[in-house]
């Protein structure tokens, strides 16, 4: 979905994407702590749009014929020629900013939805023993996130007991210091608990192999990241996206393989990769490819023109593709509710 969103600035399509994503999330969300963050992502999206608009208002409003209103213009020294603060604000400029912000926000919301739906700890189960320290750190971090929120709430409540509201200057010291010390204490305890329960029993891996696996996996993951960026960013050349992704996947794969051979660990009820999983992934790819195809065939439908101003049309093919994206709400297994 994120890939699809990056190809268009059509507000109708983007709105549709957000709606579909929200629908899937609400249908297939679990009650786990990480699943509660979707609202935060939505808010974050709104903030992005707001910021984008505000900057456009202040900095570079004039662009296009339909001037809405004029802000007092600041006279800048000639060094800053080309930068204007204040001045005329046009409909076109605002709309362009709005579309742009909306695209960014939709991207974020899509990624957020993936975060909300997937259990990060399940992913961590597959971290090979060669990355032992990284694994500990990640698990601790993931467990800490909800606990941080919890202790921040507790401590904010406790602040009132000392009769301290209104003294804003101390806020950071008062809340952050206890929260951080709390988090540090807890993470040490958790790491100790993981260790004493046998996490990372791979003491017999020779250090050279360990380093090799570590490097391979990390380099691979970085490659994957760059590759995904290349794919998502429509402006960068194809040559960056696909090959980097492939190279990264291969390197990471080799690293995981070598590392995995040394790990003495078994899996309790491993997550099976079944029809439903295939279905969900297939739909994701299908939506993305359709959007790509549509972008090649009909660029104006996806990027509505601002000059002259016109109401954006709703092109048929991409709409259908996005609606397809709602299917996982039925395909994916329903979460276990307690």
């Amino acid at each position: 979905m994120a890939t699809a969103a990056s190809r268009t600035t059509n507000p109708l399509l983007l709105g549709l994407i957000v709606a579909v994503v929200a629908f899937v999330v609400s249908a297939r969300r679990t009650e786990a702590p990480w699943a509660k963050g979707f609202k935060a992502y939505l808010w974050f999206g709104l903030i992005i749009i707001g910021t984008r608009l505000a900057f456009r208002l202040l900095l570079d409003g004039q662009y296009g014929a339909h001037v809405l209103f004029r802000l007092p213009e600041l006279a800048l020294p000639s060094v800053a020629a080309g930068v204007r603060i204040g001045g005329a604000v046009s409909v076109e400029g605002l709309l362009a900013a709005f579309y742009d912000g909306l695209r960014l926000a939709t991207l974020l919301i899509c990624l957020g939805a993936a975060n909300v739906l997937a259990n990060p700890k399940r992913l961590l189960k597959s971290v090979p023993g060669a990355l032992h320290e990284v694994g500990v750190a990640l698990t601790v971090a993931l467990t800490m996130a909800p606990q941080l929120v919890e202790s921040a709430q507790r401590i904010r409540k406790a602040r009132r007991l000392r009769g301290e509201l209104g003294r804003r200057t101390h806020f950071f010291a008062e809340v952050l210091v206890p929260v951080m010390t709390d988090a540090l204490d807890r993470s040490l305890l958790l790491a100790a608990a993981m260790d004493s329960r046998g996490y990372g029993r791979t003491a017999h891996v020779p250090p050279r192999t360990r380093r090799l696996t570590g490097t391979l996996v990390l380099a691979g993951l970085i490659g994957v990241c760059i590759g995904i960026y290349g794919l998502l960013d429509g402006s960068s050349p194809w040559t960056l996206g696909v090959p980097m992704l492939a190279v990264g996947l291969v390197a990471a794969g080799i690293g995981f393989f070598i590392g995995g051979q040394r790990v003495q660990r078994s899996r309790y009820r491993p997550d099976p990769w079944l029809l439903a999983e295939w279905g969900v992934s297939a739909i994701g790819i299908l939506v993305a490819t359709t959007m790509f195809a549509a972008a090649v065939r009909n660029p104006t439908g996806l990027n509505p023109s601002l000059q002259p101003l016109q109401w954006p049309a709703l092109p048929l093919l991409p709409t259908l593709a996005i609606l397809l994206g709602a299917l996982p709400a039925w395909i994916a297994p329903p979460p276990v509710r307690s």
């Binding site: 009769g163 608990a193 996490y199 078994s266 309790y268």
Partner: protein, 545 residues
């Protein structure tokens, strides 16, 4: 099974050694209790067994610790995971996964145990600890007792030969800790697991254990049969102190043994108590006269979080000079009630009046001057780098002359280094500091949420004395606690809560004697003579002509 040879542990920046030249041998299948005051190194001793000390905590360990022949210096904790299971004080801090079943399987996954075997062991463990109905529940939604049993289960699935438990019941109510202890004793008897357990409230465990390791406080330890070691230790459960007082030998460790010994004592006390009812120490608690209007009065106080009603229509009156104990299961609404009374917590309906005002409508600093609350984790209130800075800040906040808070702190507990970092203080010292900070606003009503957690016997005694002094000075005090013995020696009145409602409200002796779950040991031993504490018995015997 576990062998310590000339073990010394030194932490950097410590003035003296935490453990010095410890020689210990714990046999297979023993239930071994580690006792001592706070901060004498109980956790260090436990940590040394599986190598967390020094592999994880730092510090220097000299000598040798071997478990089943494996030396901890060459085996880090993860290489001992199949042999030793460790459960920490706060089970929640040690959970790695999200659901009960996954948590039970986690250790086995790390040990590369065959999936079929894993499934079988998970089922066995669920049954053994009686948590089968919880298997799919998210761990965070469980009660304290359930979490503690899951934590024990999660290390048991690896079939360890040794189980190390650091204060497993410190946060639990009497019933939940019975559950946990029952599970532990069953492990020892049925499976022959060696258990090493640290505990402050000896009255809960002393009767079950085969060996007591007593830490003197200077790094040395004494180890031996419980009756022998406890006869001379500075920490002892009420049953042992009663035994010492009555001169019984061998010392009884359980209520049952003590009752058999106490036949004569009971008769003697019965005779003493019956004519001298007004003079008996239990008498002052009988009816504290509610002179004038109460300091705090709450009417139909209701607290609700979403769909959950935490406190339902609670009526409460607090009189000046009275210490009220608030008891009840974990999650019965004690904390919510205290927070609502202070005015900082949520309150859906009902009214709270303190000196004619509702603290929730006042500004925080005004509310604080009416009702002071010491929360469950007192360190939440501390954020400055030194004790002195905290005190100065407290004086400013409550607009008191400089030195008020420091003076209070000195009266509560003298000898705290003003330059020390609050986080480095012992539990008792932290509590004293927060108490001093809250008292510096001179509130008439003082609420304490589980202050006895992590306190040893002497710190609790100190707290009892302090609260009595404060009550005598006219404060109205509420203490929520699970500690029956503490209630017996401290409180005038007891409130029992369940499911958000106040079930019982009455003088300590009446409420506490009414149900076995809340009865202190002395009362159980001397029933039907109405004595709650060893001190009462001592005064009664002392007044004997």
């Amino acid at each position: 099974m576990i062998r310590f040879e000339q073990v010394s542990v030194t932490y950097p920046e410590a003035q003296h050694r935490t453990l010095s030249d410890v020689d210990l041998h714990i046999e297979e299948g023993e239930l071994c209790l580690v006792v001592g005051k706070t901060g004498v190194g109980k956790s260090t001793l436990l940590g040394a067994i599986n190598g967390l000390v020094p592999h994880f905590t730092g510090g220097t360990l000299s000598g040798r610790v071997t478990v089943n022949g494996r030396d901890t210096s060459s085996h880090p904790p993860r290489e001992l995971a199949d042999l030793i299971g460790v459960v920490g004080q706060d089970p929640l801090a040690g959970f790695v996964t999200d659901t009960v079943e996954e948590e039970l399987a986690y250790a086995m996954e790390q040990l590369a145990i065959d999936p079929a075997v894993m499934r079988k062991r998970v089922e066995e463990t669920l049954d053994l600890l009686g948590i089968a109905e919880l298997r799919n529940r998210p761990i965070r939604s469980l009660s304290g007792g359930q979490q503690q049993r899951v934590a024990i289960g999660s290390v048991l699935t690896a079939h360890p030969r040794v189980l190390v438990l650091d204060e497993p019941t410190s946060a639990l109510d009497p019933t939940a800790s019975e559950e946990v202890l029952a599970a532990i004793t069953r492990l020892v008897h049925d499976l022959g697991v060696t258990v090493v357990i640290a505990e402050h409230r000896l009255e809960r465990v002393a009767q079950y254990c085969d060996r007591v390791i007593y830490l003197h406080g200077d790094g040395t330890v004494a180890s031996g049969p419980p009756a022998e070691v406890l006869a001379h230790s500075s920490v002892a459960p009420p049953v042992v102190r009663l035994g010492r007082l009555a001169g019984w030998s061998p010392l009884p460790l359980s209520v049952r043994d003590a009752r058999r010994e106490a036949v004569d004592l009971r008769e003697e006390l019965q005779q003493l108590a019956s004519p001298a009812v007004p003079a008996s120490p239990a008498a002052p608690s009988a009816e504290p006269e509610l002179s004038g209007s109460p300091e705090l009065s709450g009417r139909r106080v209701t607290v609700r979080y979403g769909n959950i009603v935490a406190v339902s229509k609670a009526d409460i009156d607090l009189a000046s000079g009275q210490i009220v104990a608030l008891m009840g299961r974990n999650g019965s609404g004690k904390s919510s009630l205290l927070w609502a009374l202070q005015g900082s917590g949520a309150r859906e309906s009902g009214s709270v009046r303190v000196q004619g005002q509702d603290p929730s409508t006042l500004s925080p600093s005004q509310a604080r001057a009416l009702v002071g609350l010491v929360p469950q984790t007192p360190t939440d209130l501390l954020y400055l780098a030194t004790v002195q800075a905290e005190c100065t800040q407290a004086d400013q906040d409550s607009q008191q002359p400089a030195g008020t808070c420091a003076g209070l702190l000195d009266r509560i507990l003298s000898g705290i280094d003003p330059q020390a970092h609050p986080r480095d203080l012992s539990e008792g010292q932290k509590l004293a500091l927060v108490l001093a900070i809250q008292l510096s606003a001179s509130p008439r009503v003082l609420l304490l949420d589980e202050p006895t957690r992590g306190l040893d016997y002497s710190a609790k005694e100190h707290l009892t004395q302090l609260l009595k002094e404060l009550a005598a000075a006219g404060h109205a005090i509420v203490v929520s606690t699970h500690d029956v013995e503490f209630v017996a020696s401290t409180a005038d009145r007891v409130l029992v809560m369940a499911e958000g409602e106040i079930l019982a409200d009455g003088p300590t002796a009446d409420v506490v004697l009414a149900s076995p779950a809340f009865a202190p040991q002395v009362a159980k031993i001397l029933h039907p003579a109405p004595f709650l504490t060893v001190e009462e018995v001592a005064t009664a015997l002392g007044s004997k002509p």
